[in-house]
Amino acid sequence: MDLGLDVTERDGYAVLAVRGEVDVYTAPRFRERLIELVSEGKHRIVVDLEGVDFLDSTGLGVLVGGLKRLRSHEGDLLLVCTQSRILKVFEITGLTKVFSIYDSVDAAVSS
């Protein structure tokens, strides 16, 4: 199962575009990539979930861990997501109160 993790720079943010399915098998790669970015000094990160086909609680755990790590560096992790099936897992778990979720990368980096 492929998981795409492409990083670009945008207005001082590292934008991590995730593609594919995020579950217990692929989540470790996603977590490692986030940790690498933080280790490289990228403390303002946008995770673009528009290319994600599936995300369960293991993916949520990666994002919660990433946010925690970034906040400990006085940074932030913003999300881009408009897909209702992905947003639903954030809504059910109450994580919409924890994450800032935007409609586009443009909206996130200009927030």
Binding site: Y25, F54, S57, V64, G65, K68, V89, I92, G94
Partner: protein, 149 residues
């Protein structure tokens, strides 16, 4: 129940996607559940299979996880059975509320609340010899739900 599918998967994380694929194919082919409800079921199956695989890992058993799926005109039922050491679903650890910054210390513990929210019925049967999670999606719940039908 008119149709049944049984799948035995090795207890490895790479096989959870296969369980999702088989259950969602069954749901799409044999039921009238909407695409949104099939997506809900896929998440619940993924959560239950993930817990099963972690239970096998913790118990160091190389037995397989059994995924069974039945459908008829009223309901779709999925059962995920593991041979782990079991757990007490009524005694799960409490996490701080989501508005509490301390909540960020916990990256886990979201799977069972997700299962409960996404399916019409869920039943956990756990003993020292394993756990069975039964998930039910009712067709009438779909008809009463978001009106997509």
């Amino acid at each position: 129940m008119s149709e049944a599918v049984q799948l035995e998967i090795p207890a490895g994380p790479e096989f959870v996607a296969l369980a999702r694929l088989v259950v969602s194919a069954m749901a799409s082919a044999e039921t009238q559940l909407s695409d949104d409800r099939v997506d809900d079921l896929k998440i619940a199956v993924s959560e239950a299979c993930t817990n099963a695989i972690e239970a096998h890992d913790a118990s160091a058993t190389d037995e397989r996880v059994l995924v069974s799926c039945w459908a008829d005109h009223e309901r779709l039922e999925v059962c995920i059975e593991d041979r782990g050491s079991g757990f007490d679903v009524s005694n799960l650890p409490e996490h701080p509320p989501l508005t509490d910054p301390e909540r960020l210390k916990f990256e886990r513990g979201l799977g069972i609340p997700l299962i409960r929210a996404l399916v019409d019925e869920v039943e956990f049967s756990s003993t020292g010899e394993g756990t069975a999670v039964r998930l039910v999606m009712r067709h009438d719940a779909d008809l009463d739900g978001d009106g997509e039908f």
